[in-house]
Symmetry: C2
Subunit: 174 residues, 2 copies
């Protein structure tokens, strides 16, 4: 049976890095950032200490998981040639943490299905789900799905199909 | 200027893992394996302790470099959209070591040019250089170059263009 291939991003699609950033920002500054502080700002604009956060040992291994993604990913894994593709190379200390996080939360994902890269411009699957335009815009495949996060939530999705959550991914693809 | 894209493998193309395997096999058994022991055998057949070797901390960070590759890679980096693509995910402890090894030996390679993956089936560049048929055979690009190593040296290269060393890569591509 032919299975379309799909590349699913990690940070902001599977891993709830905003939850971690908000917690760490509060620990650092005492300020609890809410949606109105975050919408329409890049992650670096919203979180001035973001590089300190992502370079903290354990940042990626302890990231919370985005609601509903495990169940939908397990179904996608049956109907699609599923890959998890994360632009992780900027933070080399994250590589093993990301691998461990996937092994913990997605035990049905084989190591053959994991890609940790710099640019996603050489990734060729049929579909890509990502929260960053920079990744979707250079993607060579056919169908691009923009996963809503505060940094992209008021942007025009353009040619990309916007989804708000994993229930919408399920309705769209399954 | 349009630059064709090229994916270059690490182990057996840039990193001389056979040299490491031979050294470790001698340390383990006292036996110095020579070319006649290795030709036509898979790496696992030639080196019964290979899993112990590759799981040794430092195996990938201390691997010797294959002669001539640095100079040719530096030239390729000017004429091609160059990526280093290593099927490293089977050995998650190798991820950071591979990153560090590249940073040490190829300082002109940006992190955006590095891909550590499981399967190479979703890698889409114009050209791939690899020593393993399993990677070249699933590659979606146009041109495949088989880098000779003992495990593939007596096999029919089929549709792949065989090169014996980096001088040949230079003559072929530059």
């Amino acid at each position: 049976m032919f299975k379309p291939s799909i590349a699913v991003d990690m940070d902001g699609v599977l891993a709830d890095v905003y939850a971690s950033f908000i917690t760490m920002h509060r620990e650092e500054t005492g300020v609890l950032l809410t949606a109105e502080h975050l919408v329409g700002k890049t992650e670096a604009e919203a979180f001035p200490h973001i590089l300190k956060h992502v370079n903290s040992p354990g940042f990626f291994s302890k990231a919370p998981i985005i609601a509903g993604c495990q169940q939908v990913m397990e179904k996608l894994n049956e109907s699609f040639e599923l890959f998890i593709v994360s632009a992780a190379m900027e933070f080399p200390n994250s590589l093993k943490e990301k691998y461990d996080w996937l092994a913990e939360h997605f035990p049905f994902i084989h190591w053959k299905q994991i890609v940790l890269c710099g640019s996603k411009s050489l990734i060729c699957t049929d579909i890509m789900i990502d929260d960053h335009f920079k990744n979707l815009n250079v993607f060579k495949g056919q169908r691009t799905i923009l996963f809503t996060q505060p940094h992209n939530s008021i942007a025009d999705p353009g040619k990309h199909h916007r989804v708000e959550n994993w229930e919408e991914v399920e309705r769209l693809l399954l």
